[in-house]
């Protein structure tokens, strides 16, 4: 990391003040380097905002793109605060996965931090969004902004017409079910705002009519119990979709809200599965790009000191017994993995040749690019987590079985344990395992119109009691009739929850 001779150095800036011209220049330099490294990005749209607008976001009004909901604001603020303390908590809200890619710079930052954001978001995250297969499959980057604007305007109109509180209530309920608003196995159609506007009016008219067909219940008097068609015919995993189409008591505008949240959930779906990779990739590139800038003599030591202090803050990983421990830091893990991948390409050891015969010694840019494009967190870890990273992080796997009264250490970072640790860690990022498997199995069309859901327990893991109760209340609000959630283990219902809650039967 030696800079060129003093005479050749031409710092882009010195000190901590920034202005728009400097931002443009930094963007030019970093963009040039990014291109040299082969990063393919959408055009960037950088928006400079003030800290008060953060509070706007918190109050659910402010984000230039994105509808008003306080939870988005809350996340935005959390992230922005980490930002201010030098931690680069750039979650997806500060970078919008779209074409052009929108990133936010806070007015209060120093020029170093602005440069850091440029490298991290505008080139790191941006190239990830453009390249990774999940994003390419699940989002149409060109139309998402339009759709978000449509959603924002529609929701603002609803607030005016029906009041802030009713809209907020529906949105709260939809958000509680957001993780179950995705068709996991169907490829979605790209969202187009023009289409949406046109179709929305049609929907309003047709929906009520089809609904009435479903709910016409003139019970056949004393007729023989025919084989009743069960509804739904197959279990439905996309709860929001089911509600949107079938909830009997929703107004058309409420249905539209459900649909909007569903579409947004779909938009965010890839992000949930690529946290480690996305952050690791962006961190790796901000590190690489800014160091390259330093090597060219374009930034001074002061810049680097500030940058490195920020950078190391982000990568903090307290060990498991530290009071500050809060799980594995995706930035730390992702960065470690990408950095190690580069090392395996540039300077492989014998162990690397044994573990990664295909990539040891290969050109690092191609390898990293290939990894970024074709994997998600689970598969990325399963494929590329190296023994060295496991040793550095001293990873170990613990089995916590309720039926036993001790924890069991499944594997540690030694020769016998590497594969197992890797498997265990990968499964931790498998959404299918981590999120409870809940599906709609029955609607009592002719009776009390109640909705029944089935939760298939995996490895005897029960649902979180308090949260489930809250979510069921939300579901009840949307459905309008009683809802029932059964937890099944090996086909037997081990736990049943309903909303409204049934009174306990009196003892006989």
């Amino acid at each position: 990391m030696n800079q060129p001779a003093r005479a050749d150095r031409q710092y882009i800036s010195q000190g901590s003040d920034w202005n728009f011209e400097l931002i443009a220049r930094y963007d030019e330099e970093i963009g040039r380097l990014a291109q040299e490294f082969g990063l393919d990005t959408y055009p960037n749209q950088i928006e400079v905002i003030r800290s008060e607008q953060m509070m706007d976001a918190y109050a659910s009004i402010g984000m230039p793109v994105g509808y008003h909901h306080w939870s988005f604001g809350k996340h935005f603020v959390e992230v922005a605060q980490r930002y201010q303390r030098g931690e680069m908590g750039l979650a997806y809200e500060i970078v919008i996965n779209s074409d052009p890619c929108i990133a936010y710079l806070m007015e209060e930052n120093t020029i170093t931090t602005q440069a850091l954001v440029l490298a991290h978001a505008c080139y790191g995250h941006n190239s990830f969004f453009k390249g990774n297969y999940l994003f390419r499959t699940w989002t149409d980057a060109g139309s998402i902004i339009d759709y978000l604007l449509f959603a924002k305007k529609y929701i603002a109109d609803c607030e005016e017409r029906h009041g802030v509180r009713p809209v907020e209530e529906i949105l709260d309920s939809c958000h509680a079910l957001m993780n179950y608003g995705v068709d996991r196995y169907k490829r979605p159609y790209p969202i187009s705002a023009e289409e949406e506007k046109r179709r929305q009016r049609e929907r309003q008219e047709y929906v009520q009519r089809t609904l009435n067909d479903l709910w016409r219940t003139i019970p056949k008097a004393e007729a023989a119990h025919e084989e009743e068609e069960s509804f739904p015919e197959e279990p439905q995993e996309n709860l929001l979709y089911f509600i949107e189409k079938n909830a009997p008591l929703l107004e058309p505008w409420q249905r539209e809200l459900v649909r909007i949240v569903r579409k947004i959930a779909q938009y965010f779906y890839p992000q949930r599965q690529t946290q480690v990779m996305n952050e690791g990739w962006a961190t790796f590139w901000h590190y690489t790009l800014l160091n390259a800038l330093y090597d060219e003599g374009k930034v001074d030591d002061g810049f680097m000191m500030e940058f490195l202090s920020s950078h190391t803050g982000v990568l903090a990983q307290p060990p498991y017994d530290d009071p500050l421990y809060n799980g594995i830091n995706p930035y730390a893990l992702g960065f470690a993995m990408f950095t190690d991948l580069r090392r395996i390409c540039d300077q492989p050891t014998a162990e690397d040749h044994e573990w990664f015969p295909d990539i040891a010694g290969a050109p690092w840019r191609e390898v990293l690019s290939h990894a970024m494009r074709n994997f998600k967190d689970e598969s990325f870890i399963l494929q590329f987590l190296s023994p060295k990273v496991m040793r550095d992080q001293r990873l170990f796997g613990v089995i916590d079985d309720e039926s036993e009264d001790t924890y069991e250490i499944a594997a540690i970072h030694d020769a016998q344990g590497y594969r197992r640790v890797r498997e265990l860690l990968a499964s931790q990022y498998n959404l299918g395992d981590q999120e409870p498997n809940i599906q709609i199995v029955k609607v009592d069309v002719r009776g009390d119109r109640s909705l029944t859901l089935a939760h298939e327990q995996h490895a005897r893991r029960p649902l979180h009691a308090e949260n489930s109760r809250e979510v069921l209340k939300h579901l009840y609000r949307l459905w309008g009739f009683p809802v029932r959630l059964e937890s099944l283990s090996d086909g037997e219902a081990v736990e049943v929850r309903t909303c409204p809650e049934l009174e306990p039967e009196p003892e006989d």
């Binding site: 928006e47 607008q53 659910s60 939870s71 421990y325 799980g327 594997a411 409870p436 979510v471």
Partner: protein, 421 residues
């Protein structure tokens, strides 16, 4: 191609932050933060704005997730001593390195901090409070009049001239005065024509003279006369305002140690700020007492260091005297607030109760008593108890043992009562 957009708000318009929506959403937290701040602040510092912190987790977003139980595997970093196959005892309680599912956030959750301005702070502090039973309204002072349009008058100054009415009157006068002559004139002209046609010179001459006279007469009637002028009239209507006076009775006897005095002062300071903020016209009478009572000004009330024994009735008597002298009950809404540690000369307590019952309570809208002590209630408290049972609408008493209790008690005493329909 990179676009850089400046979305910061331009200097001119205020921040588009809809603070009201934000404050409404987090009302609970803000109120709690304010209550905490009031508890901790020094008396001189009571009025400034405050930094409020909202814990990130407080705004919960439930989703379906796993609870504890079943069989789960987790990978952690930082192994120092374990080997595969080790068994570790479960820790008591929930610690043991967060054996939860994969975390989505790397670092810990953070609080959101923002600043309440002084005004907002005071508003939240005194939200939902009012002086109870504020009913008597009466005239007071010369600046409580308003000008009201009250028709028209015949006298006035040129600035108040009502042009249209004046001209209308003038027209009416002209019609009245010229009506007869004009008719006669028309008549005469007709006759003149006839006479001229007949060739009757004598009649014609006579008629011409008559017409001339009539025309002159009409010309003499003025277009506008002073009698015609009309002016707009305004009168002053008094605006009734409520007059209220608050009596602050503080016990500064020797039995009140520094801490208790401090708490009493806090109470009165809250009261003072509340009154100043919410009521335009309110007078406050400060009375300090130990064995004798003295009316003082604000400075002395809060800062003086005099001390002595305890005779509570002295303060009550002084209050009654002042009321009789200066504040007629039919004009003034009278309130009283008394703070003491309850440690009164025993024989004196019944006198207090009697003074209150006979001389004070009949005249006041509301009287509250705050006892600041950690000890058990004594005679004074018991006497007052009887009073508050007898007249719960007029008399309220509360005990305070710690600084933290003052603000909630204050709020209780002055809580807005829901209007009975």
């Amino acid at each position: 191609m990179t676009y850089v957009i400046d979305r910061r708000l331009n200097g001119k318009n205020k921040s588009a932050v809809n603070r009201q929506r934000f404050l409404k959403r987090y009302k609970g937290q803000i109120q709690r933060a304010v209550a905490d701040a009031v508890k901790q602040r020094s008396i001189t510092d009571m009025e400034r704005g405050e930094s409020v912190s909202i814990p990130a987790q407080d705004v919960s977003e439930p989703t379906f997730g796993h609870g504890p139980g079943g069989r789960r595997t987790v990978v952690h970093p930082g192994n120092r001593e374990f080997v595969a196959g080790d068994r570790i005892k479960r820790p008591e309680g929930g610690s043991g390195g967060g054996a939860g599912s994969a975390s989505n956030q790397g670092a810990g959750e953070d609080d959101f901090n923002f600043q309440l301005t002084q005004d907002e702070f005071l508003e939240v502090m005194f939200e939902g409070l009012e002086l109870p039973n504020l009913v008597k309204r009466h005239l007071k002072g010369s600046d409580s009049f308003k000008r009201v349009h009250a028709g028209f008058s015949n006298d006035g100054i040129p600035a108040k001239l009502n042009v249209i009415r004046s001209l209308r009157q003038a027209k009416a006068r002209r019609l009245a005065l010229c009506g007869g002559p004009k008719k006669a004139l028309a008549n005469a002209r007709l006759l003149l024509e006839e006479a001229e046609r007949r060739g009757d010179e004598v009649t014609a001459k006579k008629l011409e003279k008559e017409i001339e006279d009539l025309e002159a007469r009409i010309r003499r009637v003025p277009f506008l006369d002073t009698y015609d002028l009309r002016y707009n009239l305004h009168i002053k209507q008094p605006i009734p305002t409520s007059k209220a006076v608050m009596f602050c009775l503080m016990d500064v006897s020797g039995s009140m140690d520094q801490q208790i005095k401090d708490m009493a002062k806090r109470f009165y300071l809250l009261l003072y700020l509340f009154l100043k903020r919410n009521y335009e016209r309110i007078e406050i009478v400060f009375i300090r007492h130990h064995t004798v009572a003295k009316e003082v000004d604000e400075e002395e009330f809060f800062y003086s260091r005099e001390t002595g024994g305890t005779v509570v009735s002295s303060a009550l008597k002084l209050m009654a005297e002042i009321v009789e002298a200066r504040y007629a009950p039919d004009e003034w809404n009278i309130y009283g607030a008394q703070a003491s540690d309850g440690d009164n000369w025993n024989d004196d307590s019944p006198i207090c109760a009697e003074t209150l019952m006979k001389r004070i309570l009949p005249k006041v809208q509301y009287f509250c008593y705050v006892e600041i002590t950690k000890r058990d209630p004594q005679a004074l408290w018991a006497e007052y108890q009887r009073l508050s049972e007898a007249q719960p609408e007029l008399f309220a008493q509360r005990r305070v043992s710690e600084t933290g209790d003052i603000y909630p008690v204050f709020r209780e005493l002055f809580q807005k009562k829901v209007e009975a329909t």
